[in-house]
Every structure is written in structure tokens, then in C-alpha cells.
């Protein structure tokens, strides 16, 4: 069975500080991986997707970047956090048309 793990579970960070969020998936070779962002009470906004190692497509510009250093790993990062980056970050993988989300990382930027 496939499992998706996100880390950390939660972060409280200062404006202007760097950020790195991680996601690993086990039990699925060459998965399509995604980063989504959700503001409190908001919709699901796709940020990035990747279909293979080293290849990442950006969907929206939010002063964030993503990388896929390994087949089973997807990293979201920024060098300088903004207040608007607060929210719930979700990593997901897809099978056919279905998205399977990780447990998410809750980020508060102060």
C-alpha cells in the first residue's frame, strides 16, 4: 500500500525567514507528485506538480519553489517567508484522476 508522509506537521516562522517542507511517498514508483496550498477556510490551490525526478512545473507564483531530488521525495521551499504564506500545505500523489493527500503541514507566519 502507498503511504505519503509530510514533515513537519506544523511550523511557526517569522516573516523573512526561510522554509523547507518535505514529502515522501512509499509504495509507488515514479509517482506524479503535487503541492497544494489551502488558506484557512479556503479552497485547494495547486502550487507545483512533478511527473519525474528533477522536473517540476509551477502552477502559480507565490514566491515559493519546489524540487524533486529523488523519485519518492518532493520539497517545497522559500528563502523569505511572507505573511501571506500562512496556511495548510498539502502534498499529494495521483492515480488515474484521483488525488491522495498527505496529512499536511500547518504553517503560521508571524
Amino acid at each position: 500500500a502507498q503511504t505519503i508522509h509530510q514533515w513537519p506537521v506544523a511550523e511557526i516562522k517569522a516573516v523573512g525567514s526561510p522554509l523547507s517542507l518535505g514529502c515522501t511517498i512509499k509504495g509507488k514508483s515514479s509517482p506524479n507528485l503535487y503541492w497544494y496550498w489551502q488558506a484557512t477556510g479556503g479552497t485547494l490551490q495547486q502550487l507545483f506538480y512533478s511527473i519525474t525526478v528533477g522536473q517540476v512545473e509551477s502552477v502559480v507564483q507565490l514566491n515559493l519553489s519546489a524540487s524533486r531530488p529523488k523519485d519518492d521525495q518532493f520539497i517545497l521551499s522559500t528563502e523569505k517567508l511572507l505573511l501571506s504564506h500562512s496556511g495548510f500545505y498539502l502534498c499529494a500523489w495521483s492515480l488515474e484522476n484521483t488525488l491522495y493527500f498527505g496529512a499536511g503541514t500547518r504553517l503560521s507566519v508571524l
Binding site: 506524479n32 479552497t43 495521483s94
Partner: protein, 114 residues
């Protein structure tokens, strides 16, 4: 541009009633319509989905009704339970294997009162 629109934004029903959540879409090439639910503090999960080869899909108490001509689809939750209280997102995409292209609605918060 919002490709998928949901209404109402929030809904409260009594336990045992049928909750109805609605969605409409613009792109007539969309051919896959899922509903996801998200419980407080948790991540979204697929609830039920339909392709327009049929106009109805049932899974237990959950039913999707699909109207291709009007570009609308709805989720009916029969015999609503307090445990159904969650935020429900409709979505749409086209083609096979297009998890990357799902367009989500803004979500509808359902509260089921005992």
C-alpha cells in the same frame, strides 16, 4: 477565473435530512467530476466521482446527479449524520490520468445538527 463554482458556501441540516450541495462548471470538455470531503484539521479525501457517461452515481448514502446540458452536478447526502459534518469540495478535469489538472470549487461547509 473560477472554473468550478459551488453553492451554497455553507449548509446546515438536521440529522436524517438530505443535504444537497451544488456545483457548476464552464468548460464543456470536462469529463471527470469528483467530490472530496475534508474533516476539520484533516486533509481532503475522495468521496465519490462520476463521468458523464451516466447522470447518476450512488455509493451508499452519497449520490451524484449530473446534468451535462446545464453543466451542473450535485451531491446528495441522504439520512445525514453528525459525522458527515465537513467541508465538501467539488472538482472537475478532463482526460485520463489528469490528477494534475483538477480544478476545485471553493468548498461548502456542511453542518449536520443532531
Amino acid at each position: 477565473q473560477q472554473q468550478v463554482r459551488q453553492s451554497p458556501q455553507s449548509l446546515t441540516v438536521w440529522e436524517g435530512e438530505t443535504a444537497i450541495l451544488n456545483c457548476s462548471y464552464e468548460d464543456s470538455t470536462f469529463d471527470y467530476f469528483p467530490w472530496y470531503h475534508q474533516f476539520p484539521g484533516e486533509s481532503p479525501a475522495l468521496l465519490i466521482a462520476i463521468r458523464p457517461v451516466s447522470n447518476k452515481k450512488e455509493d451508499g448514502r452519497f449520490t451524484i446527479f449530473f446534468n451535462k446540458r446545464e453543466k451542473k452536478f450535485s451531491l446528495h447526502i441522504a439520512d445525514s449524520q453528525p459525522g458527515d459534518s465537513a467541508t465538501y469540495f467539488c472538482a472537475a478535469s478532463r482526460g485520463q490520468g489528469t490528477g494534475s489538472k483538477l480544478s476545485f470549487g471553493k468548498g461548502a461547509k456542511l453542518t449536520v445538527s443532531p
